[in-house]
Symmetry: C2
């Protein structure tokens, strides 16, 4: 059972930005990608998606860079993961070929309920919660470190 | 968010066997694979796993074939999916390269709780429940049909 690689990267990028906001350092996409050790091209696509979702904002020019929005920091983690993952089926009901049971499948219904339980378990949390100690200090220690 | 293809096939094979048991027809792996439209080679591996888990039994010779065990029919669906999926991380904490946060990650803990909520939502159900109407009759109608 796996979330998409994009969701994984998005959550970690948001967490890195959450700790950098406290230092008033707005990093570039490349700096965040290097710190959490993910490919730049993938990180750039994820930033675009996070901006579209209102989780991240980017300011151009000197002193510019990425930062987490207030909604990004305090919003429901379950809501964010639902948006990142989508609510498609967790098995290949509509793959090619589609499953012959898809029109009347109790398994499909059961898996949808289970998927919603997964998201609901994340609802009480936020990105801000995820960077409490011990995770926040560890995130802040990753290189490249913000200039002090 | 996706379960593995093997879990998907395993659950659908078990469901097909559940409805065939009522007709006293013990099909071959190939017959089940064709009915639910999955590749034979993948189905054969899944049958081996389901036998190992005590969900399916295979009898050789004339009149032989696959059937669902009582435990396979009535056991907890959540327990079965846990066994099929394993309880590894839903994101790549231990991938290559491993995530630099993995030693002290609140996200990892939150995702484990969410994963357990997913499995727990399936706990009250069984393969037998999944083949109630309307799914059972649809499963039984798939070709190849059991000999009457």
């Amino acid at each position: 059972m796996r979330l998409t690689k994009s969701t994984d990267i998005a959550l970690r990028m948001a967490m890195r930005l959450a700790v950098l906001d406290d230092t008033r350092h707005a990093p570039t996409t490349r700096e965040v990608a290097e710190a959490i050790q993910v490919p730049y091209t993938h990180a750039a696509k994820v930033v675009s998606r996070l901006r579209h979702l209102g989780v991240v904002e980017a300011r151009r020019g000197r002193g510019g860079g990425l930062s987490l929005t207030t909604a990004g920091r305090t919003g429901s983690l379950g809501h964010l993961v639902r948006q990142l993952e989508g609510v498609g089926d967790v098995v290949g009901c509509e793959d090619d070929p589609p499953c012959p049971l898809r029109a009347a499948c109790r398994l499909r219904g059961a898996l949808r309920v289970a998927q919603e339980a997964f998201f609901a378990a994340l609802d009480p949390l936020s990105i801000g919660d995820l960077v409490e100690t011990p995770t926040g200090p560890l995130l802040l220690s990753l290189t490249p470190r913000p200039e002090s």
